[in-house]
Amino acid sequence: MLHDSSARALRDAIVRGERGALEVTRAFLERIDALDPKLHAFLYVDAEGALAQAASVERKRREGAALGPLAGVPIAIKDNLCVRGIPTTCASRVLEGWIAPYDATVIERLRAADAIIVGKTNMDEFAMGSSNETSAFGPVHNPWDLERAPGGSSGGSAAAVAGGLAPLALGSDTGGSVRQPAAFSGLVALKPTYGRVSRYGLVAFASSLDQIGPFARDVHDCAIVSEVIAGHDPRDATSLEREVGSYTASLGEGVRGVRVGVVRDTLASGVEPGVTRAVERAIETLRALGAIVVDVTLPTAEHAVSAYYIVAPAECSSNLARFDGMRFGPRVEEGGLEETYGKTRARFGREVQRRIMLGTYVLSAGYYDAFYAKAQKARTLIARDYERAFEACDVVLTPTAPSVAFRLGAKLERPLEMYLADIFTLPASLAGLPALSVPAGLSEGLPVGIQLTGRAFDEATLFRVAAAFEAASDHHTRRPPAFFGGAA
């Protein structure tokens, strides 16, 4: 079945001429038409643009031109990434109707790799949320159980790939927004090292944390997309001039002698038993493959939620100041300038308002030192915790999330509870480190993910360990039955 194929199998079939790029694109567009009403993963489907790109891939092939590493492979794009000529809304009323006048750098790179951009995916408004429920256009449903959240904030991208509506997707990750939805949806996703991927054309949320990362159904596909989008870009001053290297070359090298650090202390509380069991099984699998399992501690990680929910809202309150209805987005013009700003910005949803308020508060006179400066110091200590841990190990293994996908509505009205569920993904974000979530089996019929965190710039080791783990298990072959037929 086309929709169950890996990206590289689709690409190879297209390159060999066994499938046409148009045929593949049409098949996915039809699947989106048929199934997205159940998921609401897409905010915009660009059938015309996708078919034009597919036609161009076919033309290139006929002419004998070299085809890129994602030739003819459809990919879904989170709606906070600019794709020229189609809407970018960030799932917000504040950007409703805005058409991006340029391509993000990652989009240029995908096009250069001959990928097919099929549409824009639903998300938490401005990427602020962990359930996709803060979207102004309604939540996404998890293909594994339509009553449950797909995770967030890149929930639409996760649901699209998990439901087989696209083989690949891009999301963005500020505090776990690709890793947690990947865990909730049975997918692989990478948050690259801070600075690894250009953010030119990503609508900024928290600039010291934001990174763009891919979703795929297996490690190899995730590595291919990561390689395509990584690398220096003069248009993003935070993107690093550093060799990317190959993420796919070491996938088959195994984990013999690799030191896997397990955090057993403070992070262990509040984790669902099914998640703990999956983590324990994963540790045993890696040990059996020859990895050396060692205990490590991250003593400051318990403060990561506080630190993150000070730093990220502070940066968001500054970044979102630009949405005032003057240069783009709808304007609610009433009275003078001040009143117009206020009324226009009142169109932000509740969670975004909450974060702008929180961020403005912690930056305001009298509170800066107690909250903002303190949080940035906590961040230093968290980074040091990792430095110490990486003296003893090569990757740190934790759950990606403390639970499986929760029910839609379960936490929406309890923001603090929602924030606390990000405990495992936030430390790596604050330290700028690469982290990857990989499927580790099911608990009560729902996917569990484990997170591997690595040294800065060492994505290759994450992919290598994840690939060995994946090859020794069948977790990545599990599919949501309602979307693929047969048993899970």
């Binding site: 309150s317 300038l337 009142a346 509740r350 508060y361 940035q376 110091k377 230093t380 603090l416 604050l430």
Partner: protein, 99 residues
């Protein structure tokens, strides 16, 4: 401990953030922010004496590019998304009060 935030403070922060909110929204934010800030007070327990803050976890070096002119967003394209434009610029409501 509970670090509460008053309704007046919430109103002041909303004004700083340019959010024109109704009273019930402000009241809800007072509760939410109060709960969140009270919980964050746990950070006080963390000893950070002598610790430098980290504003950027991984610093890019030599981030400056060559200062060479290159095509950017065209004027018309930049204006296209504005709610109102006139005379080749963004049109905004009156800034100064009175005549």
């Amino acid at each position: 401990m509970s670090e509460r935030i008053s309704l007046d403070e919430v109103r002041k922060v909303a004004k700083l953030a340019r959010l024109a909110l109704e009273d019930d929204a402000l009241e809800r934010l007072r509760t939410d922010l109060g709960d969140i800030l009270a919980w964050m007070a746990a950070l006080e327990r963390l000893d950070t004496s002598g610790i430098e803050p980290t504003f950027q976890a991984i610093e890019a070096r030599g981030a400056l590019r060559e200062d060479e002119p290159s095509p950017g967003l065209r004027h018309g394209e930049a204006l296209r998304a504005a709610a109102r434009s006139s005379h080749g610029g963004f049109a905004v409501p009156k800034v100064m009060e009175g005549e």
